[in-house]
Every structure is written in structure tokens, then in C-alpha cells.
Amino acid sequence: MRIHCPLCGARDRREFSYKGAALVRPLAAAEPEAWHAYVNLRENPAGPLAELWYHEMGCGSWLQVTRDTVNHSVLEVVLARDTALGAGA
């Protein structure tokens, strides 16, 4: 499996570390249920899933990688900075 880092180009999986599903962080004052869902609840789709990967051995970017969990094909990669994931922070 290779991930196409927007800065570094196509790189081997071993250069990256995996964080998990890419979820929008709730506002600090959000209800406990929202935080419970953010911290604990996960979909487990057989198909495309947005995830966070860290290019630890490369440029040091956090990436949002959309991966098909059925065949591991990588459908899209963008810098996490360019997403709205931290919008609630």
C-alpha cells in the first residue's frame, strides 16, 4: 500500500503512522454525548473511510486519507490542515 503525500509524492506505507478515523472535533462546550461519540464511537464501513495518517518518516504532515477498507485502495489524500476537522477547536 502506498499513500500519495501531497508534498512528498507516493510513499510506502511504512513511512506513515495511523491515527484512526478523521472526525470533526466538537466544540469545547459541546454536550458530553458529542464528546463521547467523538472519542469512542466508530463506524466500521466496508468501503471508503476518511482517516488520519501522519507522515512521520517524511515531511511531518498530518494527512486525511480516504481509503477503501475492502481493497486498501487510496481514493484521496489531502493535508489535514486544509480540512475543517479542527474547526470546532
Binding site: C8, R11, R14, E15, G60
Partner: protein, 181 residues
């Protein structure tokens, strides 16, 4: 005040010539990371030009002017080597002294690419990685910076604490490559 002896990262590790490939430590030079403040990369580039006659390195590349070299060193990060940074740069970027913090080695000669191919999961052939190209990648589980200084000469950098490990892994790969003839 006591006079302390500066030891380089590869102190005590002999230069190697194995087959057609050589390994030696790079010259100890000042090294400073340049982390441009948000939106200041263009201004930093101009300040670098004015102060040192070279620009901020493009992604995957480097800039050189006489003794000074600036390597692309990661996202929004450059490494200035060979000169002390002018104070003016601090207006546009966070400057952090890295001198002595990294082991700097040079791998040279016919077949150096084949040695690196045993250690790094990237294409470092000349067609994909030309003179002056600089990237960050894995070298045998270590976070490395690699730059092609000349057609047959690479600069390899790892954290100082990993100097001996990198040296060992390069030596092993050089021997394996030489054994293949």
C-alpha cells in the same frame, strides 16, 4: 572556563571505501532550521536572498551558494547549513540551532544509489532524484534527510544519537552491494 572538546557525531568511526563506494563524515558546519511564520515564506525567501544569496528551498529541493546550502527539511521547514543565519531572518521564521544535533555523512561513488536502495523505500535514481534534490524518508527505521550533492554523491543525515547505527547499516549495505559485483 574549561575548554571543551567538540566531538562530531561520527567521531571514532573510520571512513570507508568498499568496492566503488565511499563513506565519510561531512564537514562540521553550522546548521539552523528555518520554520517560516504563517504567510511569511515569501518574505523569508527575500530575506535569505539578501542575507545569504540563496532562497528558501522548494519542496523536495535545495538551494546552494558557495559555502551555504538550504535543504528542504519537511513541511514548512528548511535547514540552513554552512553559515550562521543573519539575525534579520528571525523576523520571518523561527530559527533553531541544530549544529551538532545531526550526524552528517557523505556516500559517494558508482553504486551509491544501489546502496541507498537497500535502506530507503524511495526512488533515488538520478532520473527521479536529480542533483540538488532533497527529501525526508526512512533509512532503516530512522528518520533521515537525503540530498544529492553531486551526480554520484549523497548527503545522508540522521539524528546524532543514531550515527553509529546509520554507519553500521550503510557499511552492511555497502558490503552487500560490493559482494554482488
Amino acid at each position: 572556563m574549561v575548554d571543551l572538546l567538540a566531538k562530531t557525531a561520527c567521531d571514532g568511526l573510520a571512513s570507508l571505501n568498499i568496492g566503488t563506494v565511499s563513506l565519510r563524515e561531512g564537514r562540521a558546519v553550522p546548521m539552523t532550521t528555518l520554520a517560516p511564520f504563517r504567510g511569511q515564506q515569501v518574505a523569508l525567501d527575500a530575506a535569505l536572498q539578501a542575507a545569504h544569496g540563496l532562497g528558501f528551498p522548494p519542496i523536495g529541493g535545495s538551494c546552494q551558494r558557495e559555502e551555504a546550502r538550504a535543504l528542504w527539511f519537511g513541511r514548512d521547514l528548511g535547514l540552513l547549513m554552512g553559515v550562521e543565519p543573519e539575525a534579520t531572518l528571525a523576523q520571518y521564521a523561527a530559527l533553531t540551532d541544530q549544529s551538532q544535533g545531526w550526524a552528517v555523512m557523505q556516500l559517494a561513488g558508482l553504486g551509491a544509489e544501489e546502496v541507498l536502495a537497500r535502506l530507503c523505500p524511495v526512488d533515488l535514481r538520478l532520473s527521479a532524484f536529480g542533483v540538488g534534490a532533497a527529501l525526508r524518508t526512512e533509512a532503516k527505521h530512522m528518520q533521515a534527510s537525503i540530498c544529492r550533492l553531486e551526480e554520484d554523491c549523497f548527503q545522508i543525515m540522521v539524528f546524532r544519537s543514531m550515527a553509529r547505527t546509520m554507519y553500521h547499516d550503510l557499511k552492511t549495505a555497502m558490503e552487500a552491494r560490493a559482494a554482488r559485483g
